[in-house]
Subunit: 201 residues, 2 copies
């Protein structure tokens, strides 16, 4: 039962998307299983056919979020330039695209609802988040070697990710900047703007 090779269990995915939106706007504990089911035209009894606990649903949303942003950043790095000074720009753009794009709900839940997980699940999810953040270390180190950012690469990573993740709290797609322009601006503001415009030993 429940198909070993999952992906595209349509009902389950519909619940995931709806619940992600509800969790983003109301938080995990203020959203009841009854509400989630009702939003998909079900009763709470049916919900538990698809998920055995409410927490399993939350974990699924978060894992979807991590998978998605990891894929986005990897794709950006693979398809783009190999110029070391542009790696960071690519990552900033990919991160913002995944964060503020069609999966915004799941991403916001991943960032701000992890305290609702049981300790065991918290450990697993935070390990995935750590794995994602580790992807940033090499490009930041390269940028530091080029003098584009501070040499305290860990601090740079926390600062950049903080600024990027905070956009989920204020960015509105209807505003004056689209995601690409936002990425370009935030990147430019983060790297040393002098020296290094094309030339350097």
């Amino acid at each position: 039962m429940r198909q070993e090779r999952n992906n595209l269990l349509p009902r389950r995915n519909a619940i995931l998307a709806t619940a992600a939106s509800q969790f983003r706007h109301q938080g995990f504990e203020r959203t009841s299983v009854r509400e989630i089911a009702q939003a998909r035209g079900m009763t709470s009894g049916s919900f538990f056919y698809h998920f055995s606990t409410k927490e399993e649903l939350l974990v699924a949303i978060m894992e979807e979020g991590v998978r998605d942003i990891m894929q986005s950043v990897r794709d950006g790095l693979a398809g783009g330039t190999r110029l070391p000074e542009l790696l960071l720009l690519s990552m900033v753009r990919s991160h913002l695209k995944a964060l503020l794009g069609p999966r915004l709900d799941a991403m916001t839940v991943l960032l701000y609802e992890w305290r609702s997980l049981s300790p065991a699940a918290q450990t697993r999810v935070m390990a995935s988040r750590d794995a994602y953040e580790a992807l940033w270390m090499a490009p930041i180190s390269e940028a530091a070697a080029l003098g584009l950012v501070d040499t305290d690469v860990l601090l740079v990573r926390q600062t950049v990710l903080g600024a990027l993740n905070w956009t989920a709290q204020w960015y509105r797609p209807c505003g004056r900047l689209d995601v690409d322009a936002l990425a370009q601006r935030m990147y430019t503001n983060a790297v040393s703007s002098c020296g290094r415009i094309g030339s350097e030993p």
Copy 2:
């Protein structure tokens, strides 16, 4: 009853501090009134002598947080230099000192638990947060006029506050940087590091 000129109702303040810590670590809805009371050696009945609802307690914690950081930043500006290029540094330092200092619990609750407020209370608390963030506009504008930061002052404010507020998620006082050193580094990384080292028209 309950003293018009409040401040230093010792019991009430003790509950505030304890609850702020519990809310930070477990979240608002996963902390019951019984737990809060028990942590102060009371039963839940006694709690409601000091606060008429659980939400009133949350609002009080958040208002304490806003008052505190607003005061910290204002004091920093009043007591410090008048050099326009150092205003921003002063604000960064004051913000981090208030955020990561002895009121860290209340600050974290203010930043990350506002979804637990009723819509009415949310409006009020967010208005206070907006008032605080407005304090940043003038110094950022001055820094932009000096070429220290991007001219999109709103984006600069969101970026800087995002990076600063994120520190609450990772900063540990026992780490290699104390708060002053952290402030100095984050400030230096945020402003244009070329041009403008002392001289400029």
